[in-house]
Symmetry: C2
Subunit: 490 residues, 2 copies
């Protein structure tokens, strides 16, 4: 892998040219189309660098001096965004070569994705110009780059704060939704890359870049099809142990593969191939934006976890059965606590109507912090248990007490990190507005303190399973690298 | 099966005795414990019959004349609720026999569920008394009955309206949650029965009763373990074709089976046995309260559906891939539309960036009702398609137009029932408050008009699959009953 300092300039540009900006009154404030939306986003974000609208007929666009061509701009710009129609784009690319501008985001569509001869011909032409001029083209037919730290975005006027999570997406719509959803979940982003047809730079190139990017610690990918399967495999296998790689592979079903062919002309690949890919690389498979965000939060906020045996604490006998079924079906174990643990637990949980096999059907515990601490320390000492899931939906019923909630939160954060404790995640499953309002502060506090909170138990269980599987695979491959154990004979 | 007119009186009682009501000031308004909660619920619901508190030391409880025993009440009451501690309960049961009161709800706990010798001994004693006196006992250790039409509830002061859906639950907590959740979803209830340990009457008895109950058209069950497996099998197989039976079987996983043993002392049974049970009875398996409500809404509001090939309409290329994957993984098919259909569709959906293979990536359609109608009629004529899923999350973006929404709603209801249409379900996947507020009226209107709306596509797909599977199994068994087709040789 090689670090490309010139590509880096695209992500932290000092100057951006937007080719295809318009001075027509109707275009000045339009949401979509033309280049003006990109200028507006940059202005909304208070981009600190220089913005150059390019239009041969305009003098001023959105208060900025316009230039007739990229080569007329008084400096070689770090990033050019091309929004002109496809037939004109080759001229602009030649102009970029002439001007010494090498980083190009082609928003322009009308290429391979149309599926006709003309589209394919245009694609070949663009590829030839790029090769000849050494252009680093993102696209065509894509939304481009979103870099909160650089205050640039071609996708969303209100980006999430900067952070260590990168996203590479073959779908601009998904990229947009990722940005919004990750922002809602308090997940900071380093770089988001929507790369469309991937004509010149494609997923492997961006992965290679992000592998070296000091701002990125976790890499999320949405992939429909792969052009360089072997390269992706090698890259992911190399990067994943240092920077977890989460992949949403679209089109794994028969119908989905058909839709992917229609969307990005991608060959989706057989499900078995992708199963092997995940097994052999250790990358984390996910199936939605929600799930991606859930797993990312675990990587951001929890220490490595190498056991999947959960103690579930909540209330209700029917709930206990349901919760055990849910955890099991999502790959977690809910083993019976040891006899000795249960005997001691009976001091804190009354026998009538409260099961202590696991799950702990122990609503009274959740109203008595001292008892909860003692019970949880007992369970943490049980060698059958790796982590706790605190399912508090019932307990925060209709009248949550802010003071009690705060104390519970502090205790959980302490416990999760204490020598006599074990990792904890919370579940707050409610649509009750009062409950949501009174826990609005607590949930991010808990997460920051290393106790991620999920909105449902299935989501918690599924993402915990992915998180544990990642760390177990990592450990296994480290053990394998350390050499095989001495074999007793054969 | 035999209709038990005497059990019927428990569900529509003219008189109820509550044994164990208290006149102590602290107990008068308490939420839980004692018998006063049951009196309070009946009063809150304006129960039209007579309420008799029973307490040997009180004269008045919650404004009602109290009696020292059930036999002191001036009439043989239709339902007795026993809330006294377990050691006293046998005396009360003998008193009921003496008074000619035969329908008993035993809220009292402390029996088999405790798991000790004393509990088992008490259970044998109650069973003996019940046999000798012909008592129809619901319980012990249960929440009892909830019958909105009779204005009685032992579980919830604010019941959903009356309706055709019955629920039989081995968990009082689940029963309570069912009532609230079904109410939120606008599902009316005929009878809810929480029957706890099922010592005398158990799930089969209630199923037999509901099979004959003219107020019940759909039967929901939550089961952990079954005492009379063969009888349940025969009953469900007989009832299910007339009244769909939906069963949430708790404890199908290893951990869940352990929790069920601890909760109701149930033997959960092997998953393979239950798979065969569902296959051979045609009953609908579900795995949560949410899913139960989703499937019930389809049975309530949609005509039978015997094909699983969906046309999904929405917007976004990445979304199309995701939606096809989701539908496929939940058992629905999303076949490519026929070439002829696609050629005609191009009149209404522009080629650039809008896939029409299926899903239809056709946001513009959803802004133009005339085009939408023409496109949907084209698709409805395609022999590859059985139903539509309209995924409108994006379209109802940030500024839903109330007038446009209403027109869309009317069109969908018409279309779903017109000769040139096909069944339609909607998906409104949003957490946006504005959108939720502006669609708050539309969603129930659509549902009432035969177009159920779901909060996510996975929920829609999963419940549609269950609904279709029910009708397909029914058709198959009817075909089988009509005799085998003539066989050409062997």
């Amino acid at each position: 892998m090689s670090w490309d300092p010139e590509l880096e300039r695209a992500f932290h540009p000092n100057s951006i040219a937007i080719v295809g900006a318009s001075s027509a009154p109707a275009a000045q404030d339009q949401q979509w189309g033309g280049g003006n939306q990109f200028i507006r986003y940059l202005q909304d974000l208070s981009f600190a660098g220089r913005i150059y609208p390019v239009n041969p007929k305009a003098t001023t666009i959105r208060g900025l001096q316009a230039y007739p061509s990229v080569s007329a701009i008084p400096e070689p710009v770090d990033l050019v965004i091309i929004t002109v129609p496809a037939p004109i784009a080759p001229l602009v690319l030649e102009d970029c070569i002439h001007a010494g501008a090498r980083n190009i985001h082609m928003f322009t569509s009308g290429y391979g994705e149309v599926g006709d001869e003309e589209g394919r011909r245009r694609e070949l032409q663009v590829a030839e110009i790029a090769r000849r001029g050494g252009l680093r083209i993102i696209g065509p037919n894509c939304m481009g780059l979103h870099v909160p730290a650089a205050r640039i975005s071609t996708m969303n006027g209100q980006p999430a704060g900067p952070g260590p999570v990168a996203l590479v997406s073959q779908s601009g719509g998904h990229a947009n939704f990722f940005i919004r959803h990750f922002g809602d979940q308090g997940i900071g982003l380093s770089k988001v890359i929507s790369f469309g047809n991937g004509l010149v730079l494609e997923s492997c190139d961006f992965l290679e870049y992000l592998a070296q990017d000091p701002e990125t610690r976790i890499i999320c990918m949405y992939i429909e099809g792969v052009k360089q399967g072997r390269r992706l495999f090698e890259l992911v296998r190399e990067v994943n142990p240092r920077k977890p790689v989460l992949i949403w592979k679209g089109g794994l079903s028969q119908a989905g593969a058909g839709a992917a062919a229609s969307h990005t002309g991608s060959l989706a690949g057989a499900p078995q191939v992708w199963e092997a890919f995940f097994r052999q690389t250790g990358a984390v498979p996910v199936k939605s934006v929600d799930e991606m965000a859930d797993v990312v939060r675990l990587f951001l906020h929890m220490a490595p976890l190498t056991g999947r045996r959960a103690c579930v604490i909540g209330g209700g006998g029917g709930n206990s059965v349901a919760w055990a079924d849910i955890c099991n079906s999502h790959g977690l174990e809910v083993p019976a606590l040891q006899e000795g643990t249960r005997a001691l637990l009976r001091r804190y949980v009354p026998p009538a109507g409260n099961g202590i096999r696991n799950p702990l059907d122990a609503a009274p515990l959740l109203r008595d912090l001292t008892a909860l601490r003692q019970a949880m320390e007992l369970v943490a000492a049980d060698p059958n248990i790796d982590l706790f899931i605190l399912n508090s939906d019932f307990q925060m019923g209709s009248q949550p007490n802010p003071e009690a909630l705060e104390k519970l939160g502090s205790f959980l954060i302490d416990f999760a990190h204490s020598a006599s404790g074990k990792p904890v995640v919370g579940v707050l499953d409610t649509a009750n507005r009062e409950v949501l309002a009174s826990t609005a502060k607590l949930v991010p506090q808990l997460q920051k303190g290393g106790v991620p909170v999920f909105s449902t138990l299935p989501r918690a269980a599924r993402s915990l399973n992915s998180f544990v599987s990642y760390h177990l695979a990592l450990r296994q491959s480290q053990d394998a690298q350390a050499g095989p154990l001495p074999s007793p004979g054969n």
